[in-house]
C-alpha cells in the first residue's frame, strides 16, 4: 500500500537524486549523445519540486499528471516527452485515488513503461531508458504476483534496472542520438537508462525509510 504523501516524498527524492547526479548523467551523455541529459532533467525536476507544495491535498492521479505536464514543458529534448508521458500515463490509471495497492502500483508502473514505448516508438534492446524500465517492471510485477510485499518487490525491480543499465553497455544504440554513433556506442552506459534507475532507487529509498 502506498499513499499520496509517499508519492510526493518519492518525487521529492527523485528530484534530489537527479540534481545530485546531474553531472554524471551529463558526462554519460557527452560520451554517446549531446551532453545535456543531466542538465535538462535537473531543470525539469527542479520545476516539479517548486510545485510539490501544491500537491498536498491532490489525489495520486492528479499529482502524477502535474509532474508529467511540468516535465514535458520544461525538460525539452527527448527525455521531456518520454518522462512526461510516463508520468501522465501513470497518472491516468490512478485518477481519483489517494492510496494504491501493490497491484495498482504495478498497473501504474506498466502504464508508464507502455507510455515510453509509445512515445519513443521503441522497444527493449535499443539502448534506451526502456532497457532499465522494462526489466524493472517485469521484476516488480513478478514479485507482487508471487506474493512479495511492496519493498522486496521494489528491491527486485531496482536490481533488475541495475542489470539493465549494465546491459546497455553491451549493445549498439538503434534509437535516440546515440544511434548516430553506430558501433561507437558500444561499451557506453546509456544515460536515459541510468536516470530511470535513479528514479526507481529514489522510490525504494523513501519506502524503506517508512
Amino acid at each position: 500500500m502506498i499513499d499520496s504523501k509517499k508519492i510526493i516524498a518519492i518525487i521529492d527524492a527523485a528530484a534530489k537524486k537527479i540534481e545530485s547526479e546531474k553531472d554524471f548523467l551529463t558526462q554519460l551523455d557527452n560520451e554517446i549523445g549531446d551532453g545535456d541529459h543531466g542538465i535538462n532533467l535537473a531543470r525539469g525536476f527542479k520545476s516539479v519540486e517548486e510545485k510539490l507544495a501544491t500537491f498536498a491535498d491532490k489525489d495520486i492521479g492528479a499529482i502524477l499528471k502535474s509532474v508529467g505536464t511540468a516535465l514535458v514543458s520544461t525538460v525539452g529534448g527527448a527525455s521531456g516527452p518520454l518522462y512526461g508521458t510516463a508520468f501522465m500515463k501513470a497518472g491516468n490509471v490512478c485518477k481519483g485515488k489517494f492510496t494504491l495497492t501493490d497491484e495498482e502500483f504495478a498497473e501504474a508502473f506498466n502504464a508508464a513503461v507502455e507510455g515510453v514505448k509509445m512515445r519513443g516508438k521503441s522497444a527493449e534492446g535499443e539502448k534506451t531508458m526502456l532497457d532499465a524500465l522494462c526489466p524493472a517492471y517485469r521484476a516488480f510485477k513478478g514479485g507482487v504476483d508471487g506474493g512479495k510485499t511492496l519493498i522486496p518487490a521494489l528491491e527486485d525491480s531496482v536490481n533488475a534496472a541495475m542489470q539493465g543499465v549494465e546491459y546497455t553497455k553491451t549493445i549498439i544504440a538503434t534509437k535516440g542520438r546515440a544511434a548516430y554513433l553506430q558501433e561507437r556506442s558500444l561499451g557506453h552506459q546509456d544515460p536515459g537508462a541510468t536516470s530511470s534507475l535513479y528514479i526507481l532507487q529514489a522510490a525504494l529509498d523513501v519506502l524503506k525509510k517508512g
Partner: protein
C-alpha cells in the same frame, strides 16, 4: 570555457532578444518565450511555416523567419528541442485558415516535441501538418533506427517550401514541395574541433591536434569515425563521395550549400568550395547555384558540411523566388 556570454542560464534568451533587435522590421518575439514570428505577418492568405529546434544553430532557425521562408521559429535550450507548449504557442500565433506546416529536423527529441504540439493544435481545430527533414548521409537510414539526421539541408526546405507557401498554395501542395526537397537533398559534415554547450562547460568530445571527426551532426556530438587530419580537398572528397553514392546526381542540376559549423573561417569554406565545384563538374553534375556561409551551425565547432539539392523546374523556380529574412535575402 571561454565564451562571450553574461550568464549560462541567460544565453538562449539574450540570443533571441539580440536576434530580434537586429531586424526589428522583420522579426517579433512572442512574450511566452523563445518564439520568433514575422513582424509583417499577413492575413489568412497563406500556409504558415513553423520550424525550430535547439539553440546553438544560429542563424537557424530564427534568422530564416521572414517573407518567402518561415513564419515562426521556436528555439529551445542549446541543442535541446523546444517543448510542446512553446511550439504550440508558435503555431497558434501564425496559424491561418490555410493551415500550418511544421518543418522538423529528424532528431528523437524534436520529432516527439513537435508531434505533441501538432496534437495540441489539432485538438484546437488548427489545420496542421508536418514534414521531417533527414538529409545527413553519415548515418545509415533504416526503418528500425532513428534514421538519418536533419542538418543543413533543412535551410533549403525552408527556402523552397516558403516560396511555395508565399504563392498561396494549399497546405497539401506546400507539403508536397517540402517532401520533394527532402527526397532530393543530401548532406554530410565533419569537424576539426568540438564545441562546448554553455551549461555543460566542457566540450562534447576532445580531439588531438592531428585528429578530425567525420560524419558529425550539429549538436557537438562525436561523428561516425575519427581520422587523422588530411587536406581540405581530400576531406571534402570523402564527404562528397558519400553524398554522391547516396543519390546519383550525375546529369542533374544542383544547389551546392557549403555550410560552416560556426568557427570555420570563410577562407577555409571558399577553399573547400573551390574543390567541390571542380569535383562536381568532373563528375558530370551541373551546378545551378552555390551558397557558402554559416547557415546551420553547431556553436563554435570548427568544421563544415556539404549539401547538394537536386533541382527540377519547379524547385528551381521556387529556389529563385524572393526571400527577405535576416540570414537569407534573395
Amino acid at each position: 570555457m571561454k565564451k562571450l556570454i553574461n550568464a549560462v542560464e541567460k544565453v538562449e534568451d539574450e540570443m533571441i532578444l539580440g536576434l530580434v533587435k537586429s531586424a526589428p522590421k522583420k522579426l517579433r518575439k512572442l512574450d511566452c518565450g523563445k518564439v520568433v514570428v514575422r513582424a509583417d505577418k499577413k492575413g489568412n492568405d497563406k500556409v504558415a511555416l513553423v520550424s525550430g529546434g535547439g539553440s546553438g544553430h544560429e542563424p537557424a532557425h530564427g534568422g530564416f523567419v521572414g517573407k518567402g521562408m518561415l513564419d515562426c521559429a521556436v528555439a529551445g535550450a542549446v541543442f535541446t528541442s523546444p517543448t510542446p507548449d512553446k511550439i504550440f504557442e508558435g503555431i497558434k500565433a501564425v496559424a491561418t485558415s490555410q493551415g500550418v506546416l511544421c518543418i522538423v529536423k529528424n532528431y528523437t527529441g524534436d520529432v516527439m516535441n513537435f508531434e505533441m504540439a501538432v496534437d495540441m493544435a489539432a485538438d484546437e481545430d488548427i489545420k496542421v501538418d508536418s514534414v521531417i527533414v533527414n538529409d545527413d548521409v553519415a548515418v545509415k537510414d533504416s526503418l528500425y533506427t532513428t534514421g538519418r539526421r536533419g542538418v543543413a539541408g533543412t535551410i533549403l526546405v525552408h527556402k523552397i517550401s516558403g516560396a511555395k507557401a508565399e504563392e498561396g498554395a494549399s497546405l497539401d501542395e506546400v507539403k508536397r514541395v517540402a517532401e520533394k526537397v527532402i527526397a532530393n537533398v543530401r548532406s554530410m559534415g565533419m569537424a576539426i574541433s568540438p564545441c562546448t554547450v554553455p551549461a555543460a562547460g566542457k566540450p562534447g568530445f576532445t580531439l588531438a591536434d592531428d585528429e578530425v571527426e567525420i560524419g558529425i551532426g550539429i549538436h557537438g556530438e562525436p561523428g561516425t569515425t575519427r581520422a587523422k587530419i588530411i587536406s581540405a580537398d581530400e576531406t571534402a572528397k570523402i564527404l562528397l563521395d558519400k553524398i554522391l553514392a547516396d543519390i546519383d546526381f550525375k546529369g542533374s542540376e544542383v544547389v551546392v550549400l557549403i555550410n560552416g559549423m560556426g568557427a570555420t573561417p570563410l577562407m577555409e569554406l571558399y577553399i573547400i568550395n573551390n574543390f567541390v565545384q571542380d569535383y562536381l563538374v568532373a563528375n558530370g553534375v551541373k551546378i545551378y547555384d552555390t551558397m557558402v556561409g554559416n547557415f546551420m551551425t553547431s556553436i563554435e565547432m570548427a568544421g563544415f558540411s556539404i549539401t547538394l539539392l537536386r533541382l527540377d523546374d519547379e524547385l528551381k523556380k521556387l529556389y529563385d523566388a524572393p526571400a527577405d529574412t535576416p540570414a537569407l535575402v534573395k
